[in-house]
Symmetry: C2
Subunit: 489 residues, 2 copies
């Protein structure tokens, strides 16, 4: 049986849930596939309404949902209410995306007999993948990267059914969310839920599964990749794994704002964000160092999501102990509580200890690396692993040119005078980056996350009567298309 | 040493070429990476001019090129001149693509303080992958899918350097094309060439390689995928593998045109196309059967590209021998010549022998499956492997609805009253399809082939002075962008 645990007490909470056995996984995938056939055939306008119904249902249940999740995660009311709102908002964004239709990348090249060889009429658009999308939920976002998270919302928007493998950190929250979403969908089986580690293995190896999304650790991602590699037919694996999120503070940056912003971003949600600033380069100097010590000492720890995650943090902090402790926050309260810790070293020492010192330590720990001259940074930044984000603090863009150029190759999102935690859900967001930040160049947040669950089809001299509406000559759905090489709104 | 062979005589032709050893592969990849850094930084307008210079250089050398290739492939003057023109045309298309700029998928979301939480300014565009693209050349297109083929043209257009592993079927052609392209490029090392099987292995496992393109057999594709799976950091593998390209002839189709079109498409280039029609479903009846026999008997075979390919064809034909021989063409002349053969069976027998009977036999062989009723086709078509193409012949679109729906899930390109050989190079082309036609949902032909070599970056509150021109507020390059959710031409 599977139980939820309260991180504040370490005790079980909620109902005992059964693990899904192999036969159960098979039935759930088959039911999802059957529902998916009807969903694919549903016009985009109706799919958009269904996504909005899911959004409304989540919003309507927020009072209940934050409480269940808080029992299992200890993330607190404010954060969890905000996360439900964000999760509901993601469904609204994807409703907008599929109404717009640009995501289908419709392209029309009319026949041209004057060419050698003569060109037939060729039209192309994307369609949902034919089969079931498997989603592996994350621990640290019980709503926004879980059962009804961005992977699920974008896959449903694309036209694909989804089966989620619940994260063991919040099994009851997962069940409740699944029920709410299923009731709001026109075909409830469009969303399936499985519980248990073996169920996850069965899921990703099921022949009916055509793609998988994952948010979690590097080790977890590698394990799933290995299972996928064993499949006869390869399927895409969209994993968002580890990220250290380097921050470079340039000499012109304001000291006080940097110190307080860093401490806040580092300890938000007990540091349990994939965008947590785990590494910061700062100019040598007493003023900034003292401000950092003061800011970090003003923070408090708290209980982590699971005992395994807490143990991982403690191991990571031990590893960082080869550096000097700069400051620590107040210990948190609760069974699985940890204390924020910031270590420090100089640029030369840090470079010597690469690559191992540059690996992510999940939780409220970070390394402050001091440098003497901005021009010393380049060779060190070039050696960093890929990250989801890289941040520059500076009040003079000219000062940042070289650093910005290097960081652009190391991260999927570049941030100016801000902090990496907090990922805006919008059209332009990219939440991904070079390995090990992500397994592919796709994003798991923002409008273009839908691209993961689509594949194009070309139609050659195909009769207008049989073409999808999106490709018919008179553009009845009024979507953006490229016609004979020109973009048309 | 590596030698080219003349398929007409089986004797070596051209110079003896050295295999590239591991150290050589390392040097070539490093040189390509260094040239790539300068190429990335080159404005799109200049990159477009360089692509056009390559196009011109290929065109200028056509008299020489077709002869070298003909010695190694026996594909003949007309086909090879046409293929050089197509190859040159691909570079021109990609020059147009990068001048247009739409492929960068630039998106801008302005800051919005009214949202909860407030949204920063977020801008996103695609950039070339940072590193070297490995291309594995195909046997059957010594120009268009080889050293200067679509993979190379699209990767160079994206801004990536390329190292090609030459196909052993045309080593001298490969050397000559590489020299011509290198001389036309502003940085010659943007295109590297390696020879030999071990060099291919070294190439795809080199840490400087960030993506690989491949056109070839299922077995070859699986072997490369396995090498990639062993890498520490995964890289995308864009393989175009096997395809049987089903054709469905419906009762209303004109008998004579179908028979002659089929025989022509089947035997073009000795059937050595990945889009060769290897399977055709026809209504039972004497008239069409007799027309097919007559048309196939009017064809001639010819020498295949390599003895290994000839052996593969003979093995495939032996496998198909469990069906009844419907007709065969005249034997071809030359050392590695083969004879076109068409086998036949009824729908029930064919279904019993799936899946093995549905596998590709590379060369001028096909199966004609007779059916009694159109409504019997669906369950059989649903069981076919993925293909690059699927074709319908009919004079009544209403008659084709159900068949079209099933085929849409089994192939990347749907063709109406045409033949699958001949892939138009245009904006809308999709040359890919479900496994084993391709390893991913990307295309290897047409404008969107460039998508394979790109990865997005998001810029948050990034100063205009540091933004790429494509994302600056006033759109100095005048490219299509999506701003605050709306497509703008």
């Amino acid at each position: 049986m599977i139980y939820g645990y309260d991180p504040r007490t370490g005790q079980t909470v909620g109902a005992a849930l059964e693990e899904t056995d192999s036969a159960g996984v098979g039935l759930i995938v088959s039911a999802a596939a059957a529902a998916g056939a009807a969903w694919r055939a549903t016009p985009a306008a109706e799919r958009a309404l269904a996504l909005e119904a899911v959004s409304d249902a989540l919003t309507a249940h927020v009072d209940e949902l934050w409480r269940i999740a808080d029992e299992e995660t200890a993330l607190g009311e404010v954060r969890l209410r905000g996360e439900v709102a964000r999760t509901a908002g993601q469904f609204r964004l994807f409703a907008e995306v599929i109404r717009d239709g640009g995501y289908l990348e419709a392209i029309i090249d009319h026949a041209d007999a004057s060419l050698a060889p003569p060109r037939p009429d060729v039209r192309r658009m994307k369609h949902p993948l034919q089969g079931v999308v498997a989603v592996f939920a994350a621990s640290n976002f019980p709503f926004a990267f879980s059962v009804a998270g961005g992977d699920t919302a974008s896959a449903l928007a694309a036209g694909c059914p989804v089966v989620v493998k619940a994260h063991p950190g919040h099994p009851n929250t997962s069940e409740r969310v699944a029920k709410i979403v299923r009731e709001a969908l026109p075909y409830p089986d469009l969303l399936g839920l499985v519980q248990g580690m073996q169920a996850g293995i069965d899921l990703v190896q099921h022949p009916g599964v055509v793609a998988a999304g994952f948010t979690g650790s590097v080790a977890g991602g590698k394990a799933i990749q290995k299972l996928i590699d064993e499949r006869e037919a390869p399927i895409p694996f969209y994993g968002e794994l580890g990220s250290v999120n380097p921050v470079v503070v340039l000499p012109s940056a304001p000291v006080k704002e940097v110190a307080s912003g860093f401490a806040g971003s580092l300890t938000l949600g007990v540091g349990q964000f994939c965008t947590n600033p785990g590494l910061m380069f700062v100019p040598e100097g007493d003023e900034l160092r003292e401000a950092l010590v003061e800011a970090v000492e003003g923070t408090s720890g708290g209980p982590m999501l699971a005992d395994r995650i807490r143990d991982g943090y403690l191991g990571g902090v031990e590893r960082l102990g080869e550096l000097r402790l700069l400051a620590e926050g107040k210990p948190g309260e609760g069974a699985w509580a940890v204390t924020p810790k910031v270590f420090t070293t100089d640029l030369g020492t840090f470079a010597e200890k690469l690559p191992h010192i540059g690996e992510e330590c999940f939780g409220p720990a970070s390394i402050v690396v001091t440098y003497q001259d901005v021009s010393d940074l380049r060779p060190v930044l070039e050696r960093l692993e890929g990250s989801l984000t890289a941040t520059v603090h500076s009040s003079e863009p000219e000062e940042a040119g070289e650093v910005a150029e290097v960081l652009a190759g190391r991260a999927g999102r570049l941030i100016w005078n801000g902090w990496p935690t907090g990922v805006a859900v919008c059209w332009a967001m990219h939440h991904g980056g070079p390995w090990p930040a992500a397994t592919t160049s796709f994003t798991s947040v923002g409008a273009t996350a839908i691209d993961r669950w689509l594949a194009p089809t070309a139609y050659q001299d195909w009769p207008d009567a049989l073409l999808p509406d999106e490709l018919k000559e008179d553009n009845p759905l009024d979507i953006p298309r490229r016609v004979d090489g020109r973009s048309q709104m």
